[in-house]
């Protein structure tokens, strides 16, 4: 312990003086402390000191205008003579619905920076103690006022002290992300019970306005809980804000000021009464911005977005190993690894080849996806399974792999015996291809952890999204790479022998299952005719594989080989025909999805949602796809149940289904709007027209029923 202390002291000595905060104070439902952006204060300068709140999960504190209820955090400073504290630089808050009300506040970790002016008379070498008496209202469903007295000792230094090692980056990121005046012009006009707020200026031109929302500074100007429909214009936008009590009373203030958030950026705007400029109109309307998940990332912003996304991506990749669509590929890999159990070098090479296969494919897919997005295509993750020909090709590949495992034919020489230069090279190609195959079939199994990481990745710039995909690949490959690099583990595997043939034959069956699943997906996409084509291709492929195997066992057998080649061409032609097969109509697809009839649904469209909301009915939207296993599991276990059917009837709610089995730009747009890159996505709109609630990706029937009950009460 004392040695640790000595090391720490030594480190401090190396770094020079740093502001010394008293330990964080736990006030009951949050932890508070003062942290500084820089390691010291320069006489005549300004140092940013932030009040850091780490709020218990499920609890929140408030923005400067707390919304319909609540109270903002306040700081009363006691500073040395001549030192002056400015106002809190409030980060953009999150909207927090509570029943029919909406609050503005923060959850997770939030920093509230305050500029502190250092007098020119401050003595270099001295230490200033900054004291803050802080009041918080912390609320979950109930509210608790909490208090803390916090101190921070700041060394006064002669010149540029440099960033505080622990907090400098976070304070800087918070300041950078905070709403700022950006020279935007703002005008408001009151019409009946609506305040039309027009904002125009350079930063809004061409910006994504779908998440635009105005947070007013004054609590009496607007109805916080009301939706804010968006109209785009060439130079900016116009929001239709529901009037608050001051406006309804005819006492609209001369200036309506607040924060215009675009979701990823926010600006301070100050509007005066006037005529809405033409540049703020005419570009079409957008639905009101949905309430976003206010996780810990909301306040800190992109600064911790990437590391968190990387962690989620890695975990998501790991979990993919257990998913039903990846398992067959893994089983094949296990068989290959067992063969090399007693040749560590070969095992390692195979591990690396597999890793490369996974990474290259992931990055290639990501590259294609980014390129297509850049070209304006509305697509998302899993897109490679939206083309029937692609699904059929995958099914045939899986079928061949399964037949190979069953021993119908051998792929070259690679699977015969262990050791030998040529063999291990062949094995390497095989391992690489296994990696490729794993990624391609893994995509539809967007595991819960991956959804947010994918959503993050696909809404970022390319250079930010590629690391996320790489992390996903590392996670997927990790178990096998680790196994192949652990001779201890490998040595525990039994010696090669006749049992391996049996294992191979057994492992063929998960592959057949995968083929069956892909063919089922195909049936959803194309209907009976496409199914017939695919099944014919499958039978021909199997026959070709058997002929090829025959030739291998009794060389040279030119007739068998030739016939196999002809059949292979026929298979490819049939698959090609599938590409031209007309898509199944949406109703046919819906019937094919095997609905248990007891839960009636309607096809989703933005217009239908708007119409139902105008009627004041709760709406449940299910964004799904036949190739999305999570979606299917949810539909079977949670959505096609009596509890959900009853909840829908009880609440006069409507169930809308957005089927993304085939490519659809409108659905892709709706997914993006909610920060997602793929399905499933479940939304519940309240009866009062407020922003929808996003349900988790793994549903239970109780969860859905409860959400519907709450939606009806809203």
């Amino acid at each position: 312990m004392s040695r640790l202390l000595a090391v720490l002291l030594g480190l401090f000595a190396l770094l020079g003086p740093i502001p010394a905060a008293a330990a964080p104070v736990d006030t009951g439902h949050l932890e508070a402390e003062l942290v500084a952006q820089e390691r010291g204060a320069v006489p005549g300068g300004t140092v940013y000191v932030a009040l850091r709140q780490k709020i218990d999960k499920g609890w929140h504190t408030y923005w400067r205008n707390p919304g319909d209820s609540g109270e903002p955090t306040t700081i009363t400073w006691t500073l040395p003579a001549g030192w002056q504290a400015g106002d809190i630089v409030w980060p953009t808050p999150a909207r927090m619905p509570i029943g029919p009300l909406v609050n503005y506040g923060y959850s997770g970790e939030v920093l509230l920076p305050v500029p502190i002016q250092v007098p020119v008379t401050a003595e270099v070498g001295s230490t200033a103690t900054l004291k803050a008496d802080v009041t918080f209202l912390v609320c979950e469903l109930t509210c608790i006022p909490e208090y803390a007295t916090l101190t921070l000792a700041v060394p006064v230094v002669a010149d540029a002290p440099g960033a505080d090692p622990a907090w400098g980056g976070k304070v800087a990121a918070t300041l950078a992300a905070a709403p700022r005046a950006a020279g935007l012009a703002a005008v408001y006009a009151v019409q009946d019970d609506t305040v039309r707020l027009a904002v125009t200026g350079g930063p809004l031109k061409g910006a994504d306005l779908s998440r635009a929302y105005f947070f007013p500074f004054d609590a009496t100007v607007l109805d916080h809980a009301g939706p804010q429909p968006i109209e785009r214009g060439a130079d900016g936008l116009t929001l239709s804000l529901p009037a608050g009590v001051a406006v309804s009373a005819g006492q609209t203030p001369a200036i309506i000021a607040g924060v215009l958030s675009l979701g990823d950026r926010a600006f301070e705007v100050s509007a005066t009464a006037g005529t809405i400029p033409a540049g703020a109109l005419g570009g079409g309307t957008l639905p009101p911005a949905p309430v976003e998940d206010h996780g810990p990332t909301a306040a800190i912003g992109a600064a911790i977005g990437l590391p968190l996304a990387l962690v989620f991506a890695f975990l998501g990749g790991l979990i993919l190993n257990l998913m039903p669509c990846v398992f067959p590929v893994l089983s094949m890999k296990a068989a290959a690894l067992a063969r090399h159990a007693h040749d560590t070098r070969a095992a390692r090479m195979q591990g690396i080849a597999y890793l490369l296969g996974v990474l290259v494919t992931f990055l290639a897919l990501a590259g294609v996806l980014i390129a297509l997005k850049a070209a304006g295509q509305a697509i998302g993750w899993g897109f490679q399974l939206q083309s029937p020909a692609m699904v059929a090709a995958l099914a045939l590949v899986m079928l061949l792999v399964a037949l190979n495992l069953s021993g119908v034919f051998e792929a070259g020489l690679s699977l015969q015996g262990a050791g030998g230069g040529a063999t291990s090279r062949g094995g390497l190609t095989g391992s690489f291809l296994t990696g490729v195959l794993a990624v391609v079939v893994a995509a539809p199994c967007t595991a819960p952890f991956m959804a947010s990481a994918m959503g993050f990745a696909l809404t970022q710039d390319a250079w930010l999204s590629l690391p996320v995909f790489a992390a996903l690949g590392l996670g997927l490959a990790a178990p096998f790479v680790l196994l192949s690099f652990a001779p201890g583990l490998l040595r525990r595997m039994p010696r090669p022998g006749p049992w391996m043939e049996t294992l191979r034959h057994v492992l063929a069956f998960p592959m057949y299952a995968a083929v069956a699943w892909l063919v089922w997906v195909l049936a959803q996409q194309t209907g009976p005719m496409g199914l017939a084509l695919a099944l014919s291709a499958g039978v021909l492929a199997a026959f070709a594989a058997w002929l090829w195997g025959l030739a291998q066992r009794r060389p040279p057998a030119p007739v068998a080989r030739g016939l196999a080649a002809v059949l292979a061409v026929a298979v490819i032609a049939l698959t090609g025909l599938l590409a031209m097969e007309s898509p199944a109509t949406s109703t046919a697809a819906a019937e094919g999805a095997g609905e248990a009839a007891e839960v009636p649904s309607e096809p989703w469209s933005p217009d239908r949602v708007a119409a139902l909301r105008a009627e004041g009915r709760p709406v449940f939207v299910n964004f799904t796809a036949a190739w999305c296993v999570t979606c299917q599991v949810n539909e079977r276990t949670s959505l096609s149940t009596k509890a959900v059917a009853d909840a829908l009837t009880r609440n006069n709610a409507v169930y809308l289904k957005a089927d993304w089995t085939r490519r659809d730009a409108v659905i892709a747009g709706a997914l993006t709007e909610h920060g997602r890159a793929g399905v499933p996505l479940y939304l519940v709109y309240g009866a009062d027209g407020s922003a929808p609630v996003i349900l988790p990706q793994l549903l239970t029937e109780g969860m859905v029923a409860e959400a519907l009950d709450k939606a009806a009460a809203r």
Binding site: D68, S69, G70, E71, T74, I98, G99, P100, L101, N103, T135, L137, C139, L141, T142, C143, I144, P145, V190, D192, D193, T194, D218, A219, T220, D223, A225, G226, P227, S240, P242, A243, G244, V245, A246, S248, A249, G250, Q251, R613, A614, G616, D688, G689, S690, A713
Partner: protein
């Protein structure tokens, strides 16, 4: 600009949780009181009515029930006004009380409302647009809503802040008594969110 409730209702998509319009008839209600008797706003026509949204578990309500709310109440009653405390906490939510619970609260706090109204479904709270506890409303003798908002101008949970605060309810009642228009007709309500279902 004068707004009527009709125009608020004409835009249902925007005015989903309307604030009760000022200088307009106050929304009617029909609620059971702590004794199980049905009370309506209409029965108090001709009197000034103070409506107070309440949740006994809320720190802001506790702040004012250390004497301030009772004093405001007594002064109002002395001037001939009616005082109605309304609880819109849903069953199972903070502050939900039945008739016996309401009477216990009144006895504990030495409060003297004309009636303690039970609104467990939140129907009256939502019609009035009650957002917080406390959330105060004043209806004049003609049944027009003349004040809505907080009890005072210090939106904190700290009892010490009552001393320096301007009590808007007292001010509005004084204006009514003197026959003046109510000077501050609305303010930001503050406190805990009303615990609707």
């Amino acid at each position: 600009m004068t707004l009527t409730r009709r125009s608020a209702l004409a835009l249902p998509a925007l005015a989903l949780f309307p604030t009760a319009a000022l200088a307009a008839p106050a929304p009617a209600f029909s609620l059971k009181d702590a004794d199980g008797v049905t009370r309506t706003l209409a029965e108090f026509r001709g009197k000034v009515v103070v409506m107070e949204w309440i949740n006994e578990g809320c720190p802001y309500v506790k702040k004012h029930y250390q004497g301030n709310m009772q004093a405001t109440q007594k002064a109002a009653l002395a001037d001939g006004a009616v005082w109605l405390s309304v609880c819109s906490s849903a069953p199972g939510q903070q502050g939900h009380v039945d008739g016996a619970g309401a009477k216990r609260f009144i006895a504990d706090k030495g409060a003297s409302p004309t009636a303690f109204l039970l609104d467990p479904t939140g129907v009256a709270g939502k019609a009035w647009g009650a957002k917080t506890t406390p959330h105060m409303y004043i209806v004049d003798k003609a049944g027009e809503l003349v004040y809505q908002g907080g009890i005072d101008d210090k939106p904190t949970a700290n009892v010490a802040d009552i001393a320096g605060a301007t009590n808007y309810v007292k001010a509005a009642l004084a204006d009514l008594k003197a026959g003046r228009p109510v000077k501050v007709a609305f303010s930001k309500p503050y406190g805990c969110a009303v615990k609707y279902a």
